[in-house]
């Protein structure tokens, strides 16, 4: 009973937080209260007011509008990164897990190598080769994310492969492809879902981190990390412009973590 209650609170909190983020995302796509790029010298570093509920930044841009667009930018990057990571990760994981053998050895040692390499360094390398910007960042982070997905999927496939029902469909003469697509991949759903949610969290943090370092989304386009980085100079004089993007990142991470937790506990 106690455990169930905890679970339910987690689920409700998770859904609420991600719900708020989702509404912000929609607002960011449809309409922001102000142009997030418009500058104004009168509004420089003004605090929160009824017109500008989160105040204005050092160029007099509305922080709330910038956060809405920033959430969109951050989620686009995180979403694309997870998509790349999980897609290629699933392919790699399934192939290596199902067939095993020498191919498995080779591919897994390659992913080991990528994993052993600090992912930030890998991203910096790719970005310095291809130039900065959002698309390069997606590519760089996506590549860095593949190995962790591949490992988890591989482990799960290994487990499923040795289950009795797989042996019996094999006896019925099902082809490898049929077994993979009809009997294995659908059973990866649950693992995949919680991996994706956790991966999503990591991707949000990675995007924020890279943009904070000036490698991701290019100014004047806002992203949560970029806004934090720009607000850093004002942290002592005008803490609010750093506070709000930071708060949103916390909400996002907390929301998805709780959701991932709750989902993995579901039957």
């Amino acid at each position: 009973m106690e455990v169930n209650k905890n679970k339910r609170i987690k689920l409700i909190l998770g859904i609420t937080l991600t719900g708020i983020i989702f509404i912000m995302l929609l607002l960011g796509i449809i309409k922001t209260p102000y142009d997030p790029m418009e500058m104004s010298s009168e509004l420089k570093l003004t605090g929160a007011s009824f017109k500008h509920i989160m105040g204005c930044d050092q160029f007099g841009r509305d922080v709330f509008s910038r956060i809405l667009v920033g959430v969109k930018e951050t989620l686009i990057v995180a979403g694309a990164v997870v998509l790349i990571g999980s897609f290629f990760g699933t392919i790699l994981g399934t192939i290596t897990g199902y067939y095993g053998g020498i191919l498995d050895e080779i591919l897994m040692r390659i992913t080991d190598a990528v994993l052993a390499f600090p992912s930030i360094l890998l991203c910096l390398l790719i970005i310095s080769l291809l130039g900065g910007g959002r698309n390069t960042l997606i590519l760089a982070l996506g590549i860095a994310f593949i190995p962790s997905f591949a490992r988890i999927i591989r482990g799960e496939v290994l487990k499923i492969r040795s289950l009795d029902y797989i042996y019996s469909v094999k006896l019925f003469g099902a082809s490898d492809l049929r077994i993979i697509f009809i009997h294995i991949i659908p059973n990866l759903k649950k693992v995949l879902l919680s991996t994706v949610l956790i991966g999503f969290n990591n991707a949000v943090l990675a995007e924020a981190g890279m943009s904070y370092l000036g490698m991701g989304v290019q100014p004047p386009m806002p992203s949560l990390g970029r806004m934090l980085s720009e607000a850093q100079t004002y942290i002592f004089t005008n803490p609010s412009i750093a506070l709000f993007p930071g708060l949103i990142i916390v909400m996002m991470i907390l929301g998805f973590s709780l959701l991932a937790d709750a989902v993995s506990d579901l039957k």
Partner: protein, 502 residues
């Protein structure tokens, strides 16, 4: 396992010890005085003063090297390695008398041979242009006892400025890694991307440096400058922004204000579309409002300029150029339509990522250009790639940086825009400009020369070679423990003048 644990604790112990030792060093600096100066980027790989390109390198090398003459804080030239000089009446023969007792940092005395070697190195045309192009005017140079005599082909009123050329020992072929000069400070060591160590030169002939040990600490992340200052790991940081100034209020730092003496502009590559069309460049000049940039990004501190010249140059500076393009969006759109871009166009502005003022400026420009439907995108690049791709490779459409003068001559600012100059990174090409510039450098009368230079500036303005913005205000944060910082009209930092406060 045990061994591992032992190793780990040893490592930890030694780490804490180093920290503790460092902590002591900072406080006990009285008898062997010390200062840590923050700089925004590492010096160039080569420390050869004759080939230094970046202003950030030159401002430091100023303390290590000296020429026959040396500029002071008013921009006047004073005798240095030479203790006196005479110029013949026709202006064609310069005679420098070598100062007695001037020593190089390695202890050897400066001889006429060293001076001749340096002139030869910079006048050498075997590998293309002379390193100092004004030296191609030298007809003959030789040593006459303790005198160095230089004869010119034609009169050049600016020639003395080039005698600030660093004097290095003859045959110092590894000047890039082993810089030896005659300045008040000598080079000790460097750790790439971390620091450069200098030490006061005891045998300096003139007024010796007040502070013995100087560490130049590279603070590549603009955001951590204030933390470094407040945390006490940096005592002096030149060129901080106005917001950083606000953060340093009520701290241990004095804030000094001057001007940076550089030309900040949206530099346009005149060779790429659409900036090869003068109307497009003019349209940008009509659309960009430097006043708004100064207000928005610099809290109103900065001097608007309109050509490649800044106010510290006095007689060469033309204040009226800044009013040539008043903001006029209709006119800008009209010009764009004439040029064939009625719906605007898009381009990328490459901005060095370690210079926050330039990034801020670019952000305001992007907004201003939106009003004439021009879609500018900012691309942050690292300083090293800026130097190699944008400056040397000229692979860019537009960039925001500041360009300074290496010597106090109009030529230093204006020569780079002649069509065949190797420093002409914006690919500006104008026959009228080349002719005016040629007339200026061959003029024998100072007033006549000034007129030609001014005409050059007007051409740059009218042709809108670049979108000229401002001479940035310079704020220097100096720990209250020190005094004596001096602003120069050229981009240098005179460390020798710094001293401990009483």
């Amino acid at each position: 396992m045990n061994l591992f644990k032992k190793g780990l604790s040893l490592l930890l112990l030694s780490a804490t010890l180093t920290v503790a030792l460092c902590g002591c060093g900072g406080d006990k600096a009285d008898d062997s005085s010390q200062i840590t100066i923050g700089i925004p980027q590492d010096l160039e790989e080569s420390l050869d003063p004759h080939y230094a390109v970046a202003a950030g390198t030159k401002e430091i090398l100023f303390n290590i090297f000296e020429g026959l003459v040396k500029p002071d804080k008013n921009g006047d030239l004073n005798p240095a390695v030479a203790d006196s000089y005479t110029i013949s009446e026709d202006g064609l023969t310069y005679t420098f008398h070598l100062r007695k007792g001037v020593k190089f940092h390695d202890g050897s005395a400066v001889t006429a041979e060293d001076v001749l070697y340096c002139i030869e190195k910079n006048a050498d045309t075997s590998a293309g242009d002379a390193n100092i192009s004004a030296f191609s005017n030298i007809k003959n140079y030789y040593a006459d006892g303790e005198n160095i005599v230089i004869e010119l082909n034609v009169k050049d009123p600016d020639f003395l400025e080039y005698m600030t050329m660093a004097i290095i020992p003859a045959g110092n072929t590894d000047a890039a890694t082993n810089p030896i000069g005659t300045g008040p400070y000598k080079y000790v060591s460097r750790t790439p991307q971390e620091n450069i160590i200098l030490e006061a030169f005891d045998d300096y002939y003139g007024e010796k440096a007040n502070i013995k040990n100087v560490t130049l600490k590279i603070v590549a992340d603009a955001d951590s400058v204030v933390m470094n200052l407040l945390g006490g790991s940096v005592d002096l940081y030149a060129r901080i922004s106005s917001t950083q100034v606000a953060q340093l209020a009520n701290s241990d730092f004095n804030i000094l204000e001057g001007t940076m003496n550089l030309v900040q502009a949206l530099y346009l590559n005149n060779n790429v579309e659409p900036f090869n069309d003068v109307r497009v460049r003019q349209a940008l000049s009509y659309a960009v409002d430097p006043k708004e940039i100064i207000d928005l990004a610099f809290d109103g501190k900065g001097t608007e300029i309109g050509s490649s010249m800044f106010p510290a140059f006095g007689k060469y500076y033309i204040d009226e150029t800044k009013d040539y393009y008043e903001v006029d969006l209709d006119k800008a759109k009209e010009l764009l339509t004439e040029a064939g871009y009625p719906d605007g166009f898009s381009f990328a502005i490459k901005v060095p990522s370690n210079y926050q003022p330039h990034i801020d400026t670019a952000q305001v420009i992007v907004e201003q250009l939106k009003k004439i439907n021009v879609d500018a995108k900012i691309e942050l690049v690292e300083w090293d790639s800026w130097l190699s791709d944008v400056y040397a490779g000229r692979d860019f459409a537009a960039t925001v940086v500041g360009v300074d003068a290496s010597t106090m001559t109009a030529r230093a600012m204006l020569e780079r825009f002649t069509s065949d100059s190797s420093k002409n990174f914006v690919n500006f090409a104008s026959d009228a400009y080349d002719a005016e510039f040629a007339a200026a450098i061959s003029a024998t009368d100072i007033d006549e020369q000034t007129e030609h230079y001014k005409e050059c500036e007007w051409i740059l303005t009218k042709e809108s070679a670049n979108v000229y913005l401002q001479d940035l205000a310079e704020f220097v944060a100096l720990n209250k423990k020190y005094t004596g910082y001096e602003f120069y009209p050229i981009y240098v930092m005179d460390i020798a003048k710094l001293k401990l406060a009483e």
